[in-house]
């Protein structure tokens, strides 16, 4: 009897867990080179995006918001930095006029695998957004992907 009650409680608790509406994940491979000329020569993908050239290259990833300014939104970038490498990312939003509407840096990525996040408070309706990252050369860092969701 006790097991049955516990089972029903567990079932009820599963049933009332709110779903994370509007949450999205995107692998780094869903992005593209910021400068198209580096498309075929610098970037390669294993379990993420690496820069095999000898100079820093920029990779951009679209952010598809389901809602405008209202609830704060969290964006999280997962990446790996090897010894001597670096990875730095920025979120930018721009209006249909082409004017920038928001910009925000992610915290610096330390060595090793980590996830860095920012909170975005301003997403004007009708604006577009993406995250771009400076990827260090010689495959010394990897962009794994993005997670983003309203809070």
């Amino acid at each position: 009897m006790k097991k049955a009650v516990l089972g029903m409680c567990a079932l009820a608790s599963v049933a009332i867990v709110p779903s994370q509406a509007g949450a999205r994940t995107a692998p780094g491979t869903q992005g593209s080179p910021f400068f198209w000329q580096s498309a075929s020569t610098c970037f390669s993908s294993t379990a993420g995006i690496e820069n095999s050239c000898t100079s820093t290259q920029y990779w951009q990833m679209p952010v598809l918001w389901d809602s405008a300014t209202g609830p704060n939104k969290t964006i999280l970038v997962a990446g790996t930095v090897s010894s001597g490498g670096s990875l730095s990312c920025t979120y930018a939003g721009f209006a249909s006029s082409g004017a920038i509407v928001t910009e925000q840096n992610f915290p610096a990525f330390p060595a090793g695998n980590s996830q860095q996040s920012i909170t975005v408070t301003s997403v004007p309706a009708g604006s577009f957004a993406f995250v771009f990252c400076a990827v260090s050369p010689n495959t010394s860092s990897v962009i794994v992907g993005l997670d983003y969701f309203p809070q």
């Binding site: 809602s67 006029s97 509407v101 928001t102 408070t121 301003s122 309706a125 009708g126």
Partner: protein, 230 residues
Amino acid sequence: MKAIWISGAALGVTGALALATLVGRGHRAHLERAAGLEESASSADTMAALVDQMGRMRGELELLRAQQAAAGVRPAQPPAAGGVSAPDRSAARDDPPATPRSAADAQAETFRYVKHADQVLAAEPKDKTWGDARDLPRRVEGVLPSGSNLESVSCGTTLCRVETTHATLSAYRTFTRSMSFWPKPGDTEIKTFWPGPTAFLVVSDPGGETDAVRAVAYLARPGSNLPSAP
């Protein structure tokens, strides 16, 4: 004569009752036909028809909810069967849509945010030790395109507000690019104009490229966030 009148009246009442019965049956039969529930159908068919009808009604209800959500009205969430609350999937529907309902709505949203952010800033004490804030007017002047003007700069403890005017939308676009980092080939690191989060809002309503623009930018101190929406 009286007997004839009574007989006639009785006949009339009987006829009226018969007619009412017929009409009632006809109406009920019409309803049943409309619901796809023919009396002659087997109970299995009736059940299938009921399930089908319920499905259609649920679909209509969902459509109505979606329309209400689009109109900014939050519909009541009925409890799920068994008395357990349904998972709250309404959050995204209640959020403002990513695409503007209209230009007027988008402008109203901008004004709401500006008013709120101004209140946040007004409640903050000044921090005279904040170097980035002290240098801000000079730095903004340095990136203003010709024909643009710095109207005001004010800073609190965690937030600065910069109001500018621009001769054209194109000039404003140039200004926002100057206030942000846009990679150029050969850039080896991300160097933003301002180290913290920034938001740029147009408070006038430029109709076209050649119209003047009045804009407000909010710049949050590194480690702080911009004000949340009211």
